[in-house]
């Protein structure tokens, strides 16, 4: 029966081609616009580290003075050196890493490549196991290298391709800011999106090429980029004085695997804040936050509002297209009132006619969806040509592909319900009489 209905539906499409083409086009345009924007939104609001992000937390403290204090205000989004180092050394979480970023002059040995500024991450040993960073060659560094301010570097796969043609470069030397570093590890493909661990460098920032121990970076006065928020007298000694200055400029992530360890860590932060307050270093009442990756991304509203606005707009557009389709379908079905009347008179049940008409609208949805998919792929291609930092991420994945078809078929079948219902209610006798 399904096959028969399907055949009828395709024959139905062939009738009144202009109306059919208009309907298919309307569905295709609506679906195309909608899926383009929804795919962009889907990519942008994706989970940066599936499977891991649920147990990664971002502690925040409020070490500022009482100037401009209002109760309940959001604590700074980063930590100061003193607090960061304390929390790092306390090792109260399963793993923890303190980090910041900057631009480092990279002076390649290859004469063919001009020196340039490379994006760098200064961090501590747990960064790699905690974030599950894959390494294709060598290893990451450990606590010993952090302690000894070792001149070691882990490089990204991209940089390894650029400088060493993708071969194993472990043990080779990389010159950063006129200092020789030994390459100890080469990362595999790793690009969590958004760039959740440091949103201050841009939510969908280019990925770092070099990873250096934080202690080494500070020892060599490597440039610090990103946000630095100061209070009191601020930082009067420049970048080299950031360790002592009343400024927050470091990101700190911890791994906490179960609710009890989250609760324990929260109370640890609470106690630390209270102790600091008693000691007079913190002036404000205890004010801490401990968000996981998803909560942090939501709080920071990383998904650009433009992307969300566009999705709303496209949704509105899809609704206009669907209403349009409902109208056209009604016209199309009602034109066949005479035929339907004859069939009813010959004994076709109302339910059978309804099913056949619905099938026809579903087929319109399918064809429209196919065309819409092509339009969405063109749309995504156009998005990728845009200069915004997230543009190049706009690719369709299997989930969105499936969703495109489901949305398109469901939407146009729904659009068919009203016209089909109307068309089935024709009184057979009246139609026959008119003949």
């Amino acid at each position: 029966m399904f096959a028969y209905y399907l055949e009828l539906a395709f024959r139905g499409l062939n009738r009144n081609r202009v109306l059919t083409a208009l309907m298919v086009l309307a569905v295709a345009l609506g679906i195309g616009a909608c899926m383009t924007t929804l795919t962009v939104l889907h990519v942008l609001s994706g989970d940066p580290l599936p499977g891991r992000s649920g147990s990664l937390y971002y502690p925040q403290l409020d070490p500022r003075d009482m100037d401009a204090y209002t109760p309940g205000v959001e604590p700074p989004g980063q930590l100061s050196w003193i607090d960061g180092m304390y929390l790092l050394r306390a090792k109260r979480a399963k793993r923890q890493a303190l980090m910041t970023g900057g631009m480092v002059p990279l002076q390649p040995e290859q004469a063919s490549i001009d020196p340039y500024h490379s994006e760098a991450r200064y961090t501590t040993a747990d960064f790699f196991p905690m974030f599950g960073v894959p390494l294709q060659y060598g290893t990451a560094w450990g606590d010993a290298e952090d302690q000894s301010k070792a001149r070691v570097v882990v490089i990204s796969a991209e940089l390894n391709n650029k400088l060493f043609g993708g071969k194993n470069s472990v043990g080779k030397t990389l010159r950063l800011q006129a200092t020789d570093f030994r390459i100890i590890g080469v990362m595999g493909d790793w690009r969590p999106n958004p760039h959740f661990y440091d949103l201050y460098m841009g939510s969908y920032a280019d990925y770092e090429e070099v990873y250096v121990p934080l202690s080494t970076a500070r020892d060599l006065h490597m440039d610090h980029d990103g946000s630095t928020d100061c209070w009191g007298n601020g930082n009067t000694g420049g970048q080299d004085n950031l360790e002592k200055a009343p400024c927050t400029w470091l990101q700190f992530w911890v791994e906490l695997d179960d609710p009890s360890s989250v609760a324990a860590y929260r109370s640890f932060l609470q106690h630390y804040s209270e102790d600091q307050r008693t000691a007079g270093r913190f002036e404000r009442p205890v004010n801490i936050r401990l968000r996981n990756v998803r909560e942090w991304l939501e709080f920071k509203q990383v998904v650009p509002s433009d992307a969300r606005l566009q999705a709303w707009l496209a949704l509105g557009f899809l609704v206009v297209c669907l209403i349009n389709t409902v109208g056209l379908m009604l016209a199309k079905f009602m034109r066949r009132a005479a035929e339907l009347g004859v069939r009813r008179a010959l004994g076709a049940s109302r339910r059978a006619l309804f099913g056949q008409l619905l099938m026809e609208s579903g087929v319109i949805g399918l064809v429209g969806g196919l065309l819409g998919l092509v339009l969405a792929l063109v749309g995504l291609w156009a998005v990728r040509q845009q200069p915004s930092d997230y543009a190049k991420l706009a690719h369709m994945d299997a989930a969105m592909l499936l969703l495109t078809f489901i949305v398109s078929v469901v939407a146009s079948t729904l659009a068919g319900v009203l016209p089909a219902w109307r068309a089935c209610r024709v009184a057979p006798a009246l139609q026959l009489k008119a003949q």
């Binding site: 800011q177 969300r308 709303w312 509105g316 609704v319 349009n324």
Partner: protein
């Protein structure tokens, strides 16, 4: 034209009537908001910026030895001055619309600390000697810095230069000292203070503020002697020469600083990059609007055609009893006008509601009232255009149809 028979006929076709009205209403609501967003972005993109945008070239030099800047910067500037067509040359630390902001907060009382909530956050532009000429700033009152003021002002890794003089923009002067002359007035941020010696026409900050255009002009210029923070070399020449000047400046600076990373571009490209997202958003919005109006028009064409074909007999009877072609044409146009009117009325209310929602959730202002009648008029016109084809076909139905039994 009598509209009662039209209404009676529409009442008989409730569902198609409702569909057309709904479609026009939605199209009107989306159109008003989309056009409003387009207008907003276009006006952001055309924010005036009182510097020589067309003739300025910016070359970024990073990774030089900080201890040698005092000698390096004058040497680099001297070399840049030798480039043919370079009328003025200077060095600064950031440029308008570059997204690289050095902000600081100031108050108007001598004991205001930097974190005072009443302070005003402004952008600091560190100007090397001749920066006013190299950027093409337009002095409105007072003067720009003299050689001594440049020489005396050091940053040395601190947050704020050691000078005590500044030049402000007109908008900032008006904001801080409304109705008074700003010259000679002082801003404070304990222990720093700066006194106004000159006022320039409005120059944009490294970031603009969509909701408050005035805020996009809160910036002050401070003189700075050669210092490690200054790494944007700027050159000004004729707009026709800018590409060549940029190339030659990069080559010269790279040759003088072989270890450094040197990157040059025209100021125009900095501006273009800043507004690139807005630009693409505008195109997307325009495209969606056009396609949506087309879809709406075709929907009206489709439904009206259906109506016409359903009523061929009635039209024939009307023609047979004396209605002219014009009467039939007018009938369908009036019908469409009534439907459009109902649609745009609902649409305007809907547009207003959507705008309220967007205001709450996104950085958007209230839509000025004239967008609503504007959108309504557009949909009226489109409805009339769309109905023209089917209505003409209806008018050409011959009266003889009435005598045929279908």
């Amino acid at each position: 034209m009598e509209i009662r028979p039209i209404l009676a006929s529409l009442r008989k076709h409730r569902i198609p009537t409702l569909l057309i009205v709904l479609q026009i209403a939605l199209a009107c609501a989306v159109l008003c908001n989309a056009v409003f967003m387009i207008g907003k972005r276009v006006s952001d993109m055309h924010l005036p910026n009182a510097m020589d945008e067309a003739g300025t070239v910016v070359v970024n030099v990073q990774g030089t030895d900080e201890k040698l800047v005092a000698a390096d910067i004058p040497r680099n500037l001297a070399a840049l001055r030798g480039i043919a067509g370079a009328q003025a040359v200077s060095v600064v630390h950031t440029m308008p619309l570059s997204r690289n902001n050095w902000g600081w907060s100031f108050g108007l009382t001598p004991d205001a600390p930097v974190s005072d909530p009443n302070n005003l956050n402004v952008t600091l532009y560190f100007a090397g000697e001749n920066a006013d000429k190299a950027m093409g700033l337009q002095l409105r009152q007072g003067r720009f810095f003299n050689a001594e003021e440049y020489a005396d002002s050091k940053v040395d890794g601190g947050a704020v230069p050691s000078t005590h003089v500044m030049v402000v923009t007109e908008t900032l002067a008006k904001k801080l000292w409304p109705g008074q002359s700003a010259l000679g007035k002082t801003v404070y941020s304990k222990p720093y203070y700066f006194t106004v010696i000159g006022i320039v026409a409005d120059v944009l900050r490294p970031y603009t503020f969509a909701l408050d255009h005035d805020r996009s002009y809160y910036d002050i210029f401070l003189p700075v002697a050669p210092d490690a923070v200054l790494h944007e070399y700027i050159l000004r020449g004729a707009p026709a020469d800018r590409e060549r000047i940029a190339r030659e400046a990069v080559a010269k600076l790279q040759q003088l600083n072989p270890q450094a990373v040197v990157k040059g571009q025209t100021y125009q490209s900095i501006r273009d990059q800043y507004f690139a997202n807005s630009q693409s958003m505008v195109w997307i919005l325009v495209l969606v609007c056009l396609v949506m109006l087309a879809v709406t028009a075709f929907g009206i064409v489709g439904l009206t055609s259906f109506w016409v074909s359903q009523r061929r007999r009635q039209i024939g009877i009307r023609r047979a009893v004396g209605a002219t072609r014009g009467d039939i044409l007018r009938y369908f146009r009036t019908e469409n006008f009534l439907l459009s009117s109902a649609g745009v009325l609902i649409g305007m209310v809907l547009a207003f509601g959507i705008n309220l929602y967007l205001m709450q959730h996104y950085e958007l202002e209230r839509m000025p009232w004239y967008y609503l009648p504007g959108g309504a008029l557009t949909l009226w016109l489109i409805g009339q255009l769309a109905v023209l084809g089917p209505a003409t076909r209806a008018a050409s139905v011959p009266p003889v149809i009435a005598t045929q039994s279908t």
